[in-house]
Amino acid sequence: MWFHYRGAGGNRAVRVERRGEHYVVHLGGRLREVIIRRAAGPALDLLVDGRPLRALVAAEGDRRAVKLGDGDALSFDRVDAGSDEGVEVRIEPRASAPGDAPAAGRPAPDLPEAVTASMDGQIAAVMVKPGDVVEAGATLVVLEAMKMEMRLVAPRRALVRHVACQTGDVVRRGRLLVQLEAA
């Protein structure tokens, strides 16, 4: 059975096959033999090619998060693949962190013309309207979350083509807020 995940490093495919009481896991062109020593709630104790691996896992919808042993947490999204084949696509790391893909599914296009939300938050103020010509550094939108205020500024002199948010909107990180074009 193939499983597909999207994380900071791109899309990865993992195949898991049951062989009696062991599992064979196909990942990154290598096979590993896995024994489940214990699975209790979010805690998994595995033996991977004889090496112990303790993990905590959590899921909600397609979101996946895992903490390995004493390490840090990692986030992924489970994604569907068109077929049951192990197609592995590595994409370039995005600027944003793993697992924090925008709610709308696909990350907003990271073009110079698109100004996107730099964090989950609420739009505190929209300072521009379509047709405005703004100078480099001009504040376009003020975003607020957890007592922190973030000003999103024009990267260079530009024409405001489209404003995709209004004051009070709650947005996820990566959401398109303002579309600019060369002025």
Binding site: M1, F3, Y5, G7, A8, G9, R12, V14, V16, R18, E21, Y23, V25, L27, G28, I35, I36, R37, R38, A39, A40, G41, P42, L44, V48, L53, A55, L56, V57, A58, E60, R63, A65, V66, K67, L68, D70, G71, D72, A73, L74, S75, F76, R78, S96, A97, D100, S118, M119, D120, G121, Q122, E144, A145, M146, K147, M148, M150, V170, R173
Partner: protein, 505 residues
């Protein structure tokens, strides 16, 4: 003074401090009512309180900052007192007055002390008058125009700090170095301060760049007794926000400790202080120290003092507010061992510490000897954008500082918060840094020593393998796999207990 019995407290706060207050009340046999926003109806502080009342919409200005509504609820529900926690209305003198006017007890100092210490220029003047050393600077009458400030700045030299008289939390603050335009900085600071506090007054302080932030906890009662509970070192700050705090300070020696403690008591007495408060100082490499400000409330980092002194500060706050006298004198107090606190914040160290919101899919905290957790969230709770990012505090106590650091490293390794990004990797890096370990961190530590830090999460292959195994187990259970299935009863809302084991047994 006569005691005023407190039988029922309205908790006008949220998160870990509201939970902490509810716990202290439980221990004192005092009933609690949580005043919660609509976003917090099922939050941990709402769950642990005896009762909960929704006071308004999620934004704090519509709920946790609605003093009138909070007082109304407290009266309607028969409360004797309101505990404001930290932040929100805790340092609002008008609220403290309104609470008292409504015949309720405000668990904190008198409004006059809050007001004095809230006006940073007036506080400086009062401290100077009391013989408390302040950071060299210029506040004039507290309402100086740009011309006077520019002339004062010339006398003080650079680098300088422009600060808002009404300031707090770094807003309305500007660093001015030799190459900067003072006039422009003053205008920017005034604009920001006006916007943030509705008050554009400014004053100047010499910038002490590479200092230690050391603060003294004080407790004072109605009778005039005032003691100090020694220092906390909070030099590890990011953008004026404390991240890691400890007691005792690795920098303070017995002489500095005693001088600072006596000075803090003098500062508290000078403003007729009652209840718990903290006098913050900047301490230079030469062990000179200067008054920074006084926080007229319980602080986030109070647990390190509790663990080293054995005094429960929140209970002490409530008892003092009830008119009880301090049950100990200065000579009864001492510190034992070393304590460290780490703040677990919902912020993403890989994305410039931007707030991270969403459901906490899993929260597991460490336990064992010398480990304390003050958490405001649990598995399934939400980290919402409306409030600050503090999720929980991990506090450790051990025989000495190296043992405490090691204990904290293990405690952080045993902390799991899945579902939102947290600063855990950053905290671990702070603990591992030679400067921190040497006890040499100053307020410049984060910007200087930690500047190059990037999270390194290594190869995710083990993570992917684990996820695939877990997803496979889930699918097998759903399909009623004969080995996994156990009658297909494992796919249920309480399946934390669905243990599974092969071999051996």
């Amino acid at each position: 003074m006569a005691t005023r019995p407190i039988r029922r407290i309205l908790i006008a706060n949220r998160g870990e401090i509201a939970v902490r207050i509810a716990r202290a009340c439980d221990e004192l046999g005092i009933a609690t009512i949580a005043a919660v926003s609509e976003a917090d109806q099922a939050a941990m502080h709402a769950r642990v309180a005896g009762e909960r009342v929704v006071v308004g919409a999620p934004p704090a200005r519509d709920s946790y900052l609605r003093g009138d509504r909070l007082i109304e609820v407290a009266r309607q529900r028969g409360c004797d007192a309101i505990h404001p926690g930290y932040g929100f209305l805790s340092q609002n003198p008008a609220f403290a007055e309104a609470v008292e006017r409504a015949g309720l007890i405000f668990i904190g100092p008198k409004a006059a002390a809050i007001r004095l210490m809230g006006d940073k220029a007036a506080a400086r003047r009062a401290m100077v008058a009391a013989g408390v050393p302040v950071v060299p600077g210029y506040e004039g009458a507290g309402d100086e125009d740009d011309g006077r400030l520019v002339r004062a700045a010339d006398r003080l030299g650079r680098p300088l700090l422009i600060k808002a008289v009404a300031g707090g939390g770094g807003r309305g603050m500007r660093v001015v170095r030799a190459e900067d335009d003072l006039g422009e900085a003053l205008r920017a600071a005034r604009r920001e301060s006006e916007k943030a506090f509705g008050d554009g007054r400014l004053f100047l302080e010499r910038l002490i760049d590479d200092a230690r932030h050391i603060e003294i906890q004080v407790l004072a009662d109605d009778s005039g007794d005032c003691v100090q509970l020694f220092e906390r070192d909070c030099s590890v700050q990011r953008r004026f926000q404390k991240i890691v705090e400890e007691a005792p300070s690795p920098f303070a020696d017995a002489d500095l400790r005693q001088r600072m403690g006596e000075t803090a008591v003098r500062a508290a007495r000078a403003c007729g202080y009652v209840n718990a408060g903290t006098v913050e100082f900047l301490v230079g490499a030469d062990r000179s120290f200067h008054f920074l400000e006084m926080n007229t409330r319980i602080q986030v980092e109070h647990p390190v003092t509790e663990m080293t002194t054995g005094i429960d500060l929140v209970k002490a706050q409530i008892r003092i507010a009830a008119g009880e006298r301090l049950p100990f004198a200065q000579a009864d107090l001492s510190t034992r061992g070393a304590a460290i606190e780490c703040r677990i914040n919902a912020e993403d160290p890989d994305a410039e510490f931007a707030p991270s919101t969403g459901r906490i899919l899993l929260a597991e905290f460490p336990d064992g000897p010398g480990v304390r957790v003050d958490a405001g969230i649990g598995t399934g709770d939400e980290a919402t954008m409306h409030y600050d990012s503090l999720l929980a505090k991990i506090i450790v106590h051990a025989e000495d500082r190296p043992a405490a650091i090691r204990r904290m490293e293990l405690a952080l390794a045993g902390t799991a918060v899945l579902g939102v990004a947290t600063n855990l990797p950053y905290l671990r890096a702070v603990l591992a840094h030679p400067t921190f370990r040497a006890g040499a961190a100053t307020t410049a530590f984060v910007s200087r020593d930690m500047a190059g830090w990037r999270s390194d999460r290594g190869d995710p292959e083990d993570a992917l393998l684990t996820l695939a195994i877990a997803d496979h187990l889930r699918a097998a259970r759903r399909d009623g796999d004969p080995v996994m299935g156990r009658g297909g009863r494992h796919d249920d809302p309480w399946c934390r207990a669905d243990g599974y084991r092969v071999g051996g047994r």
